[in-house]
Symmetry: D3
Subunit: 245 residues, 6 copies
């Protein structure tokens, strides 16, 4: 009868502003209770939000740095709390604890509960049409990928009018199901955290919250007693690396 | 602060003999402590073990029956504890709780921790060369599938000489890594439950135990507040169905 | 100059009611004349029709049983007369004669006569959107799969108003060609037997009747002098199997 | 009770020499008895054998010409008797009768009887390593393609020492099964006609004769009452075409 | 400092009429200045234009003949100036200089500048729906293939009313981007040479001219010092080949 | 007759040390003469060499910065001179000139000259087994990907004993051809610049130098008059981005 120790997980918001950190932490606390010990932290440098490859590139070095520190600080796992999983492979190369990306976790969970998933993103079409398909292709799971849709809300405006955001996301989610043929909707941005239950009510189809999926997967991995995968993610060789931090 | 209620999960061993049930339950109790409430039950009809499509066909109706009853008995989720997931889709059509197959869960977990997985099965080559590839193809994740190997142990002999079984499985796991190029090993039979840590020690590469993976995934799904997927798995229409039980 | 002996084929209707058996047999007799010796039989247990994975699971054990008996009764080949091919792999494991599934045969014939096929099913969208794509993916021929469409007729109502059924199927077949871009239509249910010529007249595009395709493929295989494929479908090992029949 | 009329099929050997025509016809007569009416004809221009894309290009115009004439002469179907199916699409554009390629028919039949096929060709490795994979990819059935092997016999030497040819092909077929993991062997050249039964005896695995498979598929298609596929293969528009024959 | 010698490239128009040759040459001269030495020649036999597999088959032998002569005449590379690349593999087998197909070059260039390409063809839908998808599949790059569209202009009418042709092509290109989701448009016919800049102006999306792409790729390959690929394209063995020219 | 202006291309070595820059520039000058105006520059921060995802992540922000500056400095195109193309998508989002990655260019060129390519890398197996397959999968060209092999030379040791490096690379290239079945070898590291001709001599098979391929592709793209692809790579929206440079 073990039980005393619960996994201690660092959720990294790979963006600048830290006001989200507190809201996220409160949400996770309500959601996960005492089954997980969760800290939420953002990064000191990087973009205000992640809506392009450029943002991903600017965030990744600081995510990796934070993951390395997290291991030293005694965390059992790290969640990179962004659908694009910035720096995930590089982070895995550097630590011996599980590193979970919100996008990866959400997509794999979609495979577990249905046959065809659509990704519904807050952003306008032009920011969503190219990144998610590449991510799905890179993950090698195109067989179940139905479509991607954007709702036309800028990431930083999501919480300004949550009712409107929910309505706009809900409309695209409905179209993903009715026109594209999806049977699972994956939210394409961790900024939509907490919205899944209301969206499920609107469209009567399972909706996956990537942040929650990532924490659940982190918890699952912590309970697997797996050793690090040093073949897929070998330790980077020692050599000169110069970085301005 | 919730926490009181832990998920109650029924593990169905889709085979005849019930002596495994008790051993499995004890192992799961040691492994999961009080974080899950687990029952393990086998089926009244079907095969002594599952090593062919024929066995799968004979087990599936009784698995589905048991899943339907599990929902009525108040279980929060069901694990079909066999790498071939017999009856999984049919079960999902009939209930509103998550139904997790050990093979599916193990393969999806492999995608989360590495780039290329091999399935190592106890059975001889001829029983493993055709089923796992179809399963992987059906799941649509061939991009990460490296190879399948069989160790030449009959399922019912696994526990007769566990040392020998471990050695034989370990040799194939080693070849999967060194010759085939796998970076994750997925055990291809739930009869190998509990062996993963020793195998990891032998090959220094992550080894996934499908029964444990399924329970962890069941726990994760129970914490997602997802509604049933009635598009992918619609309720079968009412009509005459005659079955001899 | 041989010629005396024609292949003797058992067509198994993997459903309960037997009134279809006689109609099917008369149709096949008109269609195939004396070039094949055909018997049509349904199963004693199972579902009234096959419209879900659940129905498939309930039918499969009885299909396999009948296939095993068919070999003993001297049949040269067996056709599983349902688009979902219930029990096909398990049946192949148990006998040395060809076992042909109507769905498999129809899809492979479609590959032989065109570049992109759609499956048009009698059932409503919700019953067709998930099974055929998995079947096509399992067969590994997604490259030529254009779409699946459902006409909204319950399987057991097909023959109640054949004119209306034909019209409804014809409309979806037309859309499959004009909107989806198919150049071959595969009927997704053997309950539509005999309808293909009229549909071809309506849409001016080849339409494949799965029951006829299966019998033609069975005839072709009987003339190939092939030995059984014991690698892909090894004989299931002897062991305890308990089943209530 | 029909039966009087049997399908009349033209087998086109897309090569120059005609001594093979007679041997092929005698073999087909023994094999098919009176169930098919078969003529075998070679072409007036083209290569002595087909072992390169160059040979295919030189043969194709004359194959198409012969297919057009065959329809006028009253044949019910045409078999292009070469694994590379030279001119098959162009032929289909020009006629309303089925045109079957030996390679296509053999590969589709392999899909019907197993899970993974290898192509074993008489030619040396360098002539086989590039053409069959492209053919399989073009057909869109790579999921079941295991390997290709060449035996090192020039096409025109096949019949010079049939015993030796059989032995050399048999060795590669054995390796395809034992090392590559194939469960069906497809012979990669119609010059090997009639060898399949002996090879099956040697390797205890099904071996598909592409010429026989093509005739069986032609017979099957003749019995399907299908209309021509004018979407996939529209009639070429009338215009100036200048050709030196 | 080298520079004296520029690559000498033969552009083969694989069609009968030669009036296009002069216009093409003038266009290329304006476009490429003195950086390439270009000759444009059509073939003596074959079709007036290439709009079917039949046309391709009739043109291919004469293309190969011309490629062989081109090498003897001292050209450094050959461009087969047709989207269908007639005879390309056969040509490569016979010479030691690069042979570039306009369709292949355009599609590969599309992969270099975007994530999803559509092919827009002058011809009506029925002539375009089947050939380009097979070409893309044969090339193995379906992952980036978005759609194919036809504008309904016969190849030989393209230049009769260039304004109208441009408008019709532009409309389909616009739909490819807005409805199908393409981010690059590949023109599906070398008869549209020179139109790309105006189309880019209309749709504000990159448009690839296959003839120009082929010449640029030919120039690039000439500067790579690559030896011929005799594994993929081995020299055809010497033997009897009879052809009426 | 234009000709005066040649494309001005910046080659970015995405690594710290600058001694390579001069050697590279001299090589390119000898190789390209006056047909291109080439500058070679490395980055101020980042890793000493790129052998891991970690190195890629550390280099990418500085590559993007340099690409943005290159456009302002009047370059016509930029080459990211590393097989892993660090920062390529992010760079494309930010500028209106072509950005070519050495890995992408080399792989696409391989598709143009053969049927199956292998990547031969200097590094040991463990550093090469995971990155190139993902890169190929992300590019969507797995159909032609044969294998990846590592020679066991650290990137920074390549030039220390060039003879030995050549020999070790040559051995793996030979195995890629003879055992894996490749017909084109792509060098997996731009540190091997200039070695291709000698390797071709050793293995008698085309060998692609990624740095040269990238410059040739850059030259080709500069001559295409293409507008930027703002759909696939939209300009990142203005917002706060904080970075320590």
């Amino acid at each position: 009868m073990k039980k005393e120790k619960v996994p201690k997980i660092l959720v990294i918001n790979p963006i600048l502003q830290s006001e989200f950190d507190k809201a996220d932490k409160e949400f996770f606390l309500r959601k996960f209770g005492s089954s997980l010990e969760i800290e939420v932290e953002s990064i000191d440098f990087g973009p205000a939000s992640i809506e392009s490859y450029y943002d991903e590139v600017l965030a990744a070095p600081f995510v990796v740095k934070k993951v390395i520190e997290a291991e030293k600080r005694g965390f059992d796992a790290v969640v990179i709390n962004c659908f694009l999983n910035p720096g995930i492979h590089a982070a895995r190369e550097n630590v011996n604890i599980p590193v979970i990306g919100a996008g990866e976790a959400a997509i794999l969970m979609a495979l577990m509960i249905g046959e065809g998933f659509s990704i519904v993103d807050p952003g306008p079409r032009k920011y969503v049409s190219y990144v998610p398909p590449e991510q799905v292709r890179k993950m090698g799971v195109t067989a179940h990928f139905v479509s991607v849709r954007g709702a036309g809300v800028a990431v930083l405006d999501i919480t300004k009018n949550l009712e409107k955001t929910t309505k706009m996301i809900g409309e695209q989610a409905k179209l993903a199901v009715e026109e594209d043929g999806a049977d699972v909707v994956v939210l394409g941005c961790t900024g939509l955290v907490g919205l899944a239950p209301r969206l499920q009510g609107l469209i009567n189809t399972p909706v996956i919250d990537p942040a929650v999926a990532a924490l659940r997967m982190a918890e699952a991995l912590c309970g697997m007693d797996l050793i690090p995968n040093r073949i897929a993610y070998p330790k980077p060789p020692e050599k000169k690396r110069k970085f301005p931090f």
